[in-house]
Symmetry: D2
Subunit: 334 residues, 4 copies
């Protein structure tokens, strides 16, 4: 039985993770922390959540744990990761702290000096389907962002075959839970309910360097992206529509075949039949990624849907834990 802790248990990601852990027969939730709600029960703080005692993070006993999941803001996460690793506890970090291998890039985009640059080499970027060699036994996993997960799974087969010939556009639409649980005017119900709003479009969003540097690691060229996220009045879900210029000679059937082969053994990836498109409802409340492929005028349009709280966060974190500990990859996730 794996003893697990969750830091930052009262956000949307933390609660989703605790729900999933409750269905995993090989893990016991031994610790859940909350800074502002220590001493209370999770179900009091979050309607419908499991009854779980909340502990202050600085009083959290690490020594009896096998793994901690960090659902904390960037900066904070790295600090707890250092302490956990010193105590011999494996770390799956859902923040951005270990996603960028280059500490200068981190400082540029996140506005602070990296708190633990010595760990960056060891951290495994946990886009599970692309990281099977390094994940087993890993001490520190950087769980990918939700946007990068949906976009990178849509691009991975293409990068392996160099089937991209220019600027890639990622037009993403995502549910409001992706913006976190802290009260803000921009995520109040009335502000959102009749709106659809782009934000940080072009080359302005923090997930851009995460995507570009991961893509660069799969190939010998450096792709450039435009990335346009749009906030949609849905509680959860993420759909990315990607526009990828194809090199001469690639037809829809070949592309389709390439994706089917690359993901043939993947439990959580559905490559849709030719002519179908991905939609949020295909993957809601599941750890799956649904991928549709359409070619027109030499451009491949990929539609890629995930549940932002599962495959985009807590579900993939659990999937990574399964691989790290040598369990069945789908345990707790079906």
């Amino acid at each position: 039985m794996i003893e697990a802790g969750v830091f930052g248990a009262t956000g949307y990601t933390g609660v989703e993770l605790i729900r999933l852990l409750g269905r995993h027969e090989g893990v016991r939730l031994s610790l859940a922390t909350s800074r502002s709600n220590a001493g209370r029960n999770l179900a009091e703080v979050f309607p419908g959540a499991p009854e779980t005692d909340l502990v202050a993070p600085d009083q959290a006993p690490l020594e009896d744990l096998d793994v901690v999941f960090l659902c904390l803001p960037h900066g904070k996460s790295a600090e707890v990761a250092v302490a956990a690793l010193q105590a011999g506890v494996r770390v799956i970090d859902l923040s951005a702290d270990f996603r960028l291998a280059d500490p200068d890039l981190y400082q540029q985009w996140y506005g602070l000096q990296h708190p633990a640059p010595e760990l960056l080499d060891e951290a495994v970027y946990g886009l599970t389907e692309t990281a099977r060699e390094r994940l087993p036994g890993a001490r520190l996993v950087a769980n990918p962002g939700c946007y990068p997960t949906s976009a990178l799974l849509a691009l991975y087969p293409l990068m392996l075959e160099s089937a991209v010939s220019g600027q890639i556009i990622v037009d993403a639409k995502y549910g409001v839970s992706g913006a976190g649980r802290a009260p803000k005017l921009t995520t109040q119900f009335v502000e959102i309910a009749e709106d659809l709003r782009p934000y940080s479009i072009g080359r302005a969003h923090r997930h851009l360097p995460e995507m570009e540097s991961t893509l660069a690691g799969w190939s010998d060229w450096q792709p450039r992206l435009l990335f346009s996220p749009h906030l949609v009045p849905i509680p959860r879900g993420l759909l990315s529509t990607l526009y990828v210029p194809l090199p001469t000679g690639w037809a829809e059937a070949q592309i389709h075949e390439l994706f089917l082969e690359t993901y043939a053994d993947e439990a959580f990836i559905t490559v849709l039949p030719a002519g179908e498109v991905a939609s949020m409802r295909q993957v809601n409340h599941s750890n799956r990624c649904s991928i549709g492929l359409t070619v027109a005028d030499g451009t491949l349009i990929v539609t890629s849907a995930i549940d932002n709280l599962q495959k985009g966060a807590a579900g993939q974190a659990l999937q990574n834990m399964n691989v790290v500990f040598g369990l069945n990859e789908t345990d707790g996730l079906l």
Copy 2:
């Protein structure tokens, strides 16, 4: 041309009022105040709102105005009302400050000593359809709350004929704009989007004494209510379902006739055909109140729908202004 001012222009009610004033050919908006956004333009602060300069409330010139609408928190509103009346400006107050004639009741429910008890006698409770005698020329109008508007219009004909024989139940469902624009966890999109939540049920909500004291003024007995508001994931709208025990001898046809007669000349009240029920969509974005009547087992079930921002707030305020100044009652409201 009536010169009007709006205090508290950046809330949902203030913006709705400014929109409506823009369509009223007999009124000019000369002043709009905002404490936190003074110096900015309303359209910057509120997407889609009219372009209107915002002035700090304490620098607002009152002297050139004919009327001010106060969309302010209770307590604050009475202070501005005093100043406006002193400057010879008529006041339509959308807060609760002048709705309860009894200052002790005010203190009990609103937790502060009434700031201007000397004005309570003069204030006219502006449920327009029931206040036509006192409104023309009034200096101070207390615009009713949204719940009281929907419930009192559903009960007014019955009270006039003493067609109520016991405890009245008001089960109300309302859209999220009724909870105001200040960011709160409970009105964040994700918290609301899949929820339906009762709150302050029984005899706990501040609109209860407003309803009971108004009802008492229409009759020689003192009715008692139970009142159960429910927050629904809709931006706007208010539906009250009332359960009214009838005295022996009242049948559905008579009740229907009574409502038709009472509201025969009302431009904004629709008494539905027998067997039909009121619903939010019948009145959205309008100043109308839609009323359905069903009798079963000696109980009258009234369904009463309004748009909380129009007939429940800004629309009725404008309707009251029209009556106060002797204009056509529907000006700016169709």
Copy 3:
């Protein structure tokens, strides 16, 4: 391993049931039927549903099954139930066909002669928490309607103690999946999205006799209800607000104690702390019923929330199956 079949697999209830069965380790789904989609795969017909082959109902082999779940229209359901029982298969019927013990009442409300009146005596009304004596080994279970489930669980402790003194009002609010999947104008997105609409209020809804006759069976008097359902723009969820006149002498604390005792050992019923109210989000996507209790002016207000597709349909059906077959009652439901 229990071999199960689902008739009517492509509606909202059928799909929910198939999802739940997929998590139940003691059951195998051996059959799923669909009249209009026979030969196809459930995931094609219903985005996100499990991949399950669909068989035409009249070609469905019953002989190898241990249990069938009937998610069929009333009338149709009874026909399949007869055939299944003859083949020695236990039946859990999610239609209304076996909920009313009196075939005349059935004919009056459902407009057709009962197809199998000889089975009515044997059928067990499967409101699980109230039917533990008759469920184990039962051949035919009538799974309750969603409204009756939420209302009856709110009234059961009171009826046992005769703590009701007059007309009961049930004001219910429910999500759109409760209206079925067949396309209708009234459930089109735009018609619903900004609306809240009562329907069949008073004594007009088919679930009224189901509630009244069940209540009558728990006591020696015949309570009368008013029942007002309201359609709310939410995909799923059901909240009933009940107004129950208390006999003299019952205070809130006693009522609270009564509920706590009655449901002390129930895994799926949460009696909320005094002063709290039930809301949909507390129970979404779970088989739980959340109950809040408030007393005011001699009336008990019960708020009772369930997920209409789980405790209100598929979840309770599975809970009943667990009890019928002597399994752990929570298997597949946590």
Copy 4:
């Protein structure tokens, strides 16, 4: 006073148009037709709509009208247009029948032979801001589709200056009223409420040739588009995100200046300040188009928002009528 008729009054567009006409002081609605609801009142058929008698289309007297608005399916519309023009009535057609100048292109995309090819030359494509020369006095106006309106207004200034250097991508998101009012499974509330779904992406949607042929008319080259509409769970609204490759030498400031100049005198077009993006809420329930401009890596990203029922349909139709009849262009639209 202009006498107007509306054919197809009970769809979302027809009702919106009738609402707008009710606020226009220079027009009287003399006729509203409905095939399936003739003899009834519009308010009965459509909750909240104005009380308007509905006439069967084949019994509709044309002779007394000055103008008819056709909110009919393609094919049907052209037939009524012919009859109206013969009766000396001006026509504003909201269907696709007169949007494509080439009858072969019409047959290819709409699957039927054009019913009145002899009128195609005379028809004025009514994207008002771009058609001021031909609209005054026009007998037949082809009102643009909602997608083309949002995309073409975003591209018009660029085409005039040849500031486009390659394939244009239009990624559009639109509210469900755009899919019409006829009941379909795909637009049922539950199917939509938690979904976001692309459809007819690439070069498959009927609005593609409308956009491409209009663009070709503004320039001496033939641009190619990719067009990806996405259905979003919102009743109304349309946001297009366009990716336009710029020729060498164009910077964001110049592009911004170009848009400001082109639309300097337009009442209904808002060119947002640099760095801001368009969103649905800026234009909901208005006839405005809001345009945001961002340049990154040599690509211009235009965000363009309209209300699909106003500027995307009924509002623009009224705007066109104002120009045709020489009225103030904003009459009835503010």
